[in-house]
Amino acid sequence: MYLLVKQQRVARDNLDSKVFLEGLAGTGKTTAGIERVKHLLHAGVPPSRILVLVPQRATGLPWQEALRRSRAPGSAEVRVTTLGSLARELLELFWPLIAADTGCAQPLAPPRFPGLELSQFLMRRFVGDEIERRDYFRGVTISRNRLYTQIVDNLNKSALVGFPPEEIGTRLKAAWRGSSEQAFIYDDAQACASLFRAACLSHNLIDFSLLIDILRKQLWPLENARGYLTRRYRHVLVDNLEEDTPTLHDLLRDWLPLCDSALLIYDSEAGLRRFLGADPAQARSLQALCDLSVTLDRRRAMSEDVAALHHALAQTLGREAGPAPKRGVGRAALRWPARARWHPQMIDWTVGHVATLVHEEKVAAKEIVVVAPFMPDALRFALQARLDEHGVPHRSHRPSRALRDEPEVRALLTFARLAQHAPGLAPDRFDVAGALTTAIEAMDPIRARLLADALYRDGGLLPFENIRDARLQGRITFQLGERYDRLHSWLAQVPAELPLDLFFSSFFGEVMSQPGFGLHRRESAGATVANLVDSARAFRRLLTELDPAAPVAADYLRMVEEGVLANQYLRDWELDRSEGVLLAPAHTFLMSNRPVDYQFWLNVGSSGWGRRVYQPLTHPWVLSRHWDAGRKWLDADEEEAGAESLANVALGLLRRCRVRVYLGISEYGERGMEERGPLLLALHNMQRFLVPEDDDV
């Protein structure tokens, strides 16, 4: 591979040094890092001695793919992982040595790891009643699930930043300068966090925050555990160091002196995951521990025109813009829309241009991304539907609907309710008819409704022969009646105590996916039901350990109805190897770290660009290491944080664009309100920095 001289200093030379590599996104830092791994391998370093750390799984995929393709000996064996995964591995292996010191009430019993979805459930179980009883969070108008999420988020920050969880409320209150009601809310958040932590400890439940806490306090100080990592991995590479947390930075401070070599890759002007505890300033302080610093400043992703656009926008946003590119016309890399008044017009304009690029200009669909500050279901669905109409392949890391809203999932949940025969769980007639429509091939909603009306009695289904009216039998048809009977007879025989996930698997395999039934050879439905089975299984395994007498199936069904479970898909970037146009929130695309040729920025007028997510119970800046105790969070701070966020996202997007950006703008936003957010203003202001397109530059 062709490498610039500076890249060679990282990739080929200095293989026994600790190198701090920085530069803007798109300057070839990761490429240099991957090449360094290959050279280490060619130099005889065993792959089992090399570790690549990334802030999240998506960031590691380019590494894994490149290393799998490489012919370097053992390149596919190099481990690419996250701090969280390492922490869990250490905890599982060394639990017997540290359990007694963790504060867990059952040190002889194994630890249990609830995922994000189950943490929501646990939060509801452990603190939900207390919130009701004490009337916590009065006046906070966010959904209960988002409230739980922010309590979890506070605990995560305390662990990742490294302050005691008992200080969450005090820190938040100390920075608050508004009404005393809000200050009480921080007390409530503290009380809930403490309650949750105490409950986790009493049940050996290791949520992410406790995992990190134990890593800091018990595992890392334990020689066996620390040595397991530091003796095993002698060559450490860290990508996107600025997106990682103070916990990792602290560990590296101890680890780097023990390494044979290291490469710390720092993306200048990033810090996109600050709201998750990323700390670019802490990350930079590790530069002092390195033998050598290299800065890459020659762009490799952006074309001349995009670079000129980037320069103009950086100037507008008051960011370090460096010297202007010698060639390149910024305007040529930007497409403004024709005047669009309404949001659907903007979507049509976007999809029209995407279709032209794919069908007429023969651009590979995977080289196009459509981003927005947020990608709500309605926007995603509208884009997907229109792209389908134009025959443009697309992909998204979240589906258009939550798992529980998928028809096959709703049908399975309804049949599960029927099979449970439990009070309070009987589905309504409308749901039964819907489930029959989904489950039986060729069953239309009218016939399904007739069946439900005739055969759904007292929470259970009756056999088809119970329809005495020959005319009604004829309307439904005997063929559908026979299929209905197969379904009914299976449900009648299934034991009520069969765990729900096994019920879903069996009913799917033995009935719904068989010939004559609605999911026969429906491959996408298979994947959806598999997600449901995973969710129900994880719930069952956790709850039966917590409370062996709990009515697991009934509880699961109730949690789904309340939106606590099966409410979102977890993204799986690894499974997604499709080549379609990517639809994603801007932030998600940025963290995937893959440049594309064409970008469409939607809802450019939205105030979501450059505004913090509304999180009334937490605060990423105040809960960071850099916040002075007692200092108030002022409007000026909010403004500065917004400006930083806007610059990070907008300039970060440009650095990952090779050819052109299309701006999706409508006078009225999704909710019909006029929108003039900070990105739109910045783009207008930028005009003065752009050289006219027809000027000879």
Partner: protein, 273 residues
């Protein structure tokens, strides 16, 4: 050509192809998830897989130096405790002291890679290399059958190709390699499979041929042996029956991964949206 440039072969996906080319296509090329049951008694099956995972972790912990007196009192499952006792008694009998637990090795296979994840590799000072795999299944297969399993052929082949770094930079002579299966449910009985140059060459030809065949395969046919379909999750997708087979007759590989409820810590950014 069917296979992407970065495809990685394993004993598992090769065995799937040999057992049923359609299963290989669905599972690894189309990545089709199909959540039907493998066996009739899934609760017992799941319990068994959990026991297997727990036992493997205990062995790994022991090999990392955690003492039995720390580990043994924590084992709540009597059956796993028996396995562990048996392993303590003879699991490491005659195993050289230079050991690499949970070792992953890769070797080239045509344009692709062949990956083996081994429970334990041990090398003696005289260069003798022992490859160990802990088995927790009820069935102890006949040696003739186990010799033909892809695991036996792949692991020894990969160690011969890629084991140099465990052996002071010297390639490990196939004549010095032995693969040993240790059966927990059979009081630590073992099956031993020595290797030699002739077998190595035969395996090499066979594996390369198999990889080429998979890459060029135009149609991935269903297996002729329909008994296999009883234990395959894709049976309804392939029109090969409704009910899963009885657990007592299941002879699959218990090393298959448990469905994980792993902490989805890398997905934290979902929180904000």
């Amino acid at each position: 050509m069917n296979l992407p440039e970065d495809f990685v072969f394993t004993q598992g996906n090769l065995q799937d192809y040999v057992d049923c080319p359609r299963r290989f296509e669905l599972k690894y090329l189309r990545r089709q998830r199909w959540p039907a049951s493998e066996v009739d008694d899934m609760e017992a099956f799941e319990r068994h897989l959990e026991q297997g995972a727990l036992f493997h972790r205990l062995v790994q912990q022991s090999l990392l130096g955690l003492p039995p007196e720390t580990l043994r009192p924590r084992i709540e499952d009597d059956e796993v405790a028996r396995w562990y006792d048996a392993w303590l008694a003879n699991g490491l009998a005659d195993v050289p002291s230079q050991r690499w637990p949970e070792l992953t090795l890769t070797a080239p296979l045509g344009k692709w890679l062949l990956l083996a994840k081994m429970d334990l590799v041990a090398i003696a000072p005289d260069g003798r290399a022992l490859l160990l795999d802990w088995k927790t299944g009820r069935h102890m297969p006949r040696a003739v059958r186990q010799a033909q399993r892809l695991q036996t052929r792949v692991y020894r082949n990969v160690l011969a190709q890629a084991g140099a770094r465990l052996n002071g930079g010297e390639a490990i002579d196939p004549e010095r390699i032995e693969m040993r299966y240790w059966y927990a449910q059979h009081e630590g009985e073992v099956l031993r499979f020595p290797y030699d140059e002739e077998k190595y060459r035969a395996d090499d030809r066979f594996l390369r041929g198999l990889a080429r065949e998979i890459d060029r395969c135009e149609d991935f046919p269903l297996t002729d042996d329909e008994r296999r379909c009883r234990f395959c999750v894709y049976r309804s997708l392939c029109g090969r029956g409704e009910k899963p087979g009885p657990l007592a007759e299941w002879e699959g590989d218990e090393d298959m991964a448990l469905p994980t409820d792993a902490l989805d810590i890398d997905e934290l950014d979902e929180i904000a949206f």
